[in-house]
């Protein structure tokens, strides 16, 4: 990345309140095109809230979010427009249970991007192929294992050709033996140049694929650093405790 290229995402002074509680207490963050960011931090630190604000699922209370220079704002009506170019993968998969795997992948491209049936179908199969699950296309999601469902969810998001992918703890609802198949897909995605924000406690993934690790606590970013530095010299006791906690189990 050259210095002059504007970041894909620019966040300034972002705040989000739930009643009196400040879930986000002033976030400043730039994400460059093609960057792989890992966000971690203790439970309740506001990681999910940040992800929900970044694609406008939750309106923010103060501060600015610029996606490719365009302000993301419910009032300006840009949130809906920008959201379709931001993919989101949830902890609980959130596949549509009444639709087949294939239909899960074609629904939004057809309704939102107005693709024809064949083009949507082609794109869906391409992405299901990419996550290694094309042979299950005709099944209902509840017939698949957790790992398979999460891979379908990734394929579903990719079908919208997003410029940014958000992952909110994509592996923490999975049985241990299925974590790897999802992480492998995410690593492949990272290597392909996709801009990614991954909320995860998988530090192995962070080491392997992240350009930068962001550590959050109580609605603030208290440290950002490349993996080497982050894991190398850890001054802050909160981060030390966090790392000790997650490695302990």
């Amino acid at each position: 990345m050259t210095e002059q290229a504007p970041p894909l995402v620019r966040v300034r002074g972002l705040e989000k309140r739930f009643g009196d509680y400040r879930a986000l207490a002033g976030i400043d963050l730039d994400i460059a095109r093609g960057e792989r960011l890992v966000v971690c931090g203790p439970s309740g630190s506001g990681k999910s809230t940040l992800a929900y604000c970044l694609n406008g699922l939750e309106p923010h209370d103060a501060g600015r979010i610029l996606i490719d220079g365009m302000p993301l704002d419910e009032e300006l009506g840009t949130a809906h427009e920008l959201r379709r170019s931001i993919g989101m993968v949830f902890q609980s998969f959130n596949l549509f249970p009444h639709l087949s795997v294939l239909e899960n992948c074609t629904l939004a491209p057809r309704l939102v991007l107005r693709l024809g049936e064949q083009e949507a179908h082609r794109r869906a199969m391409e992405n299901l192929e990419r996550v290694g699950i094309a042979d299950q296309a005709a099944k209902r999601p509840d017939r698949l294992s957790g790992g398979q469902q999460q891979r379908v969810a990734i394929a579903r998001a990719l079908c919208m050709r997003p410029r940014l992918m958000l992952f909110d703890e994509p592996t923490s609802a999975l049985d241990p033996e299925m974590v790897k198949e999802v992480l492998d897909v995410m690593i492949e995605l990272a290597q392909s140049g996709m801009t990614m924000v991954c909320i995860t406690h998988e530090m192995g993934f962070a080491r392997a694929a992240a350009d930068r690790i962001v550590f959050m606590d109580q609605g603030r970013i208290i440290r950002e650093a490349p993996p080497k530095t982050f894991f190398g010299d850890q001054q802050d006791p909160r981060i030390r405790r966090f790392l000790a906690d997650i490695t302990a189990g």
Binding site: R83, H98, A108, M160
Partner: protein, 387 residues
Amino acid sequence: MPAAFPPPAHGRPPALPNPPDRAGPPRVERGLVQRNLAWARANLFAGPWNTLLTLLVVALLLWTVPALLDWAVFDATLAPADIGLCMERGGACWAMLQDTWRMILFGPYPPAEHWRPALAVGLFALLVVISLVPAMWLTAGRRRLLLAVWPPTLLVLAVLMHGGVAGLPVVETRLWGGLPLTVILASVGIAFAFLLSLVLALGRQSSMPVVRIVCIAYIELMRGVPLITLLLMASILLPLTLPADVTIHPYLRAQLAFILFFAAYMAEAVRGGLQAIPRGQYAAAKAMGLSYWQSMTRVILPQVLRMIIPSMVNIFISAFKDTSLVIVISMLDLLGTAKAATSNPQWWGLFIEPFAFISAIYLVVCSAMSWYSRLLERRYGTAGAHD
């Protein structure tokens, strides 16, 4: 007691032998009689209470079935007969139905034209049945075909009933009655109430306070008022409050009352389903860029409807039967025409026969609905039950 059981087949774990006091002949030799006896012992005489209940039911059947058979079959009177002969024989007077069934089915519709409402009801039933076959919605092409067939068919039905085209004599709507009227009241009522209920249920969980309050108030008001008062108000009060030169057809007033009333009940069923949908489904639909209406119609409501099939069909069945309440505003639906048949001087004094006749019709339709609901439940019920 048989001495031994056949040795277990090779490789299978040995079967547990029956307890000694229940041991019958070896399983392989059990015949039909033994199996039925075993079934009876397990289901009818499993304990003292179970045995007592079985004996009571048998006694009740022995007491009622012969009497019913005497009335309906052995002492019954078929045409040709008159009321005198019926009275003399004491049983059911089916001769009366043989004389009046057309009048009960079609009301004041001109007898020479009875084939028209008969054909119309038959066509309508056929189209409904075809539309309800799940295989008909499997492909987009079939769904489009169904949607394309409905409007022209409804037009044909209306023309059949009303006439005035292609040499069919005009039959004014005030002469429509009996089964066609019941079918129209019920199907139009259920269809529009269903659509309105979706709007009400979504409005009830709207983020706009005014919309939410209006929907809640409406639903609670309708659920707090008996349908019969609503019908009376629609037929008596509504004309009084309207300007003198505005008149609403009595059928429309009753129809409106049904739609408004049942929409409130259906809305509550839909709300129950909406509450069972995990928040993640809304988030996922929104994150994919779907608009509010797109996520509702393509993601949320399809799951809700699968989930609430049983309660919805319950309401449909009530609605179908409750169309008979229009009798209080002197409309000649199926119940109205049956009641009219009882005041036929030729058959004066007979009540049970016409009511048994229309009860059979209601029973068939309602049983079909609940059978179909079970079919759908088996097919879709579990697919939507997700968390």
